[in-house]
Symmetry: C2
Subunit: 171 residues, 2 copies
């Protein structure tokens, strides 16, 4: 049995997998609403690819209500969405964990996995085809707003991790 | 000086203005993630209209970081977006207030305004052309993820309220 320790989520470390949606000084920031609000503008790339000419693929907004999953967590499968990005917005400022692997991998092992902890004020947006574990909310029952794709075509692939692992909290 | 008292936000009362994105038993609910998660599916309509044939209008994801605005609040202007919907997702489970008026109004007065309080687990999505006050976060400093439109064309109109008012908290 192997272990994996999540690292703090940063835009730089997460760049191969997607966008980190957060307030950062290097965002494009606009002062709006009589200077009561700072708009951190256009922080992610929403993708909704079409597999057929008549496919009315589009982004949709859903809520994922997730139950507590305690440590240690055994990971068995990763999934990915070839036709669309998938964005997870935490609605409660509680940390959550994302586990990802690069899209070009055919056979995923522990050495290919990257685990990050959001500080709860960071949303993530997986790019199409990025392997990821389903949402892990090991600290609290939680609500996430999710922006992903509806449309024709097969937009879900799964892959068994070659060597099942336990994911440990970093602290 | 007149006053306005916000009412609890419900999908039914808010229907003329947009979508309430929340967990509700009458949503389409899918059990996913090994039954750890309930997906409340496709809860809002994202609109990104085009004013010209070559307009690559699309939805974008931003963060609004809003400073505290204490009661009582004097309202002066409403705004609207003719070419796109605008969705506000609270990232912290704190209440916030939305003030709206119906899109067909040319001259808005107090009698036309509707004020609602989100319980903090409810996001809202204004439909195109719905008059609304800018985001009011009178309880906390707050972060909202916002899904709205980028593209060509004039997507902002403003209108002065005929009789400026004070908005009071309901309790």
């Amino acid at each position: 049995m192997k272990t994996l320790t999540p690292q703090p989520l940063t835009a730089e470390a997460f760049a191969p997998f997607g966008d980190v949606i957060e307030c950062r000084d290097d965002n494009r920031i606009l002062d709006i609403n009589e200077n009561l609000t700072k708009r951190h503008h256009d922080l992610a790339t929403i993708s909704t690819l079409s597999s057929e000419a008549d496919d009315l693929a589009k982004p949709i907004i859903s809520i994922f209500a997730s139950r507590y999953r305690p440590f240690p967590i055994t990971l068995e499968y990763l999934e990915r969405h070839p036709l669309g990005s998938q964005c997870f917005i935490p609605m409660h400022e509680k940390p959550f964990i994302v586990v990802v692997a690069k899209p070009e991998l055919d056979q995923i092992t522990l050495a290919d996995l990257h685990a990050f902890i959001s500080n709860g004020k960071q949303a993530v947006n997986y790019h199409p085809n990025v392997w990821h574990h389903y949402l892990l909310a090991p600290f609290e029952q939680s609500l996430f707003t999710v922006i992903d794709r509806t449309g024709k075509g097969k937009n879900l692939e799964e892959q068994k991790i070659q060597d099942g692992i336990i994911l440990l909290h970093s602290n």
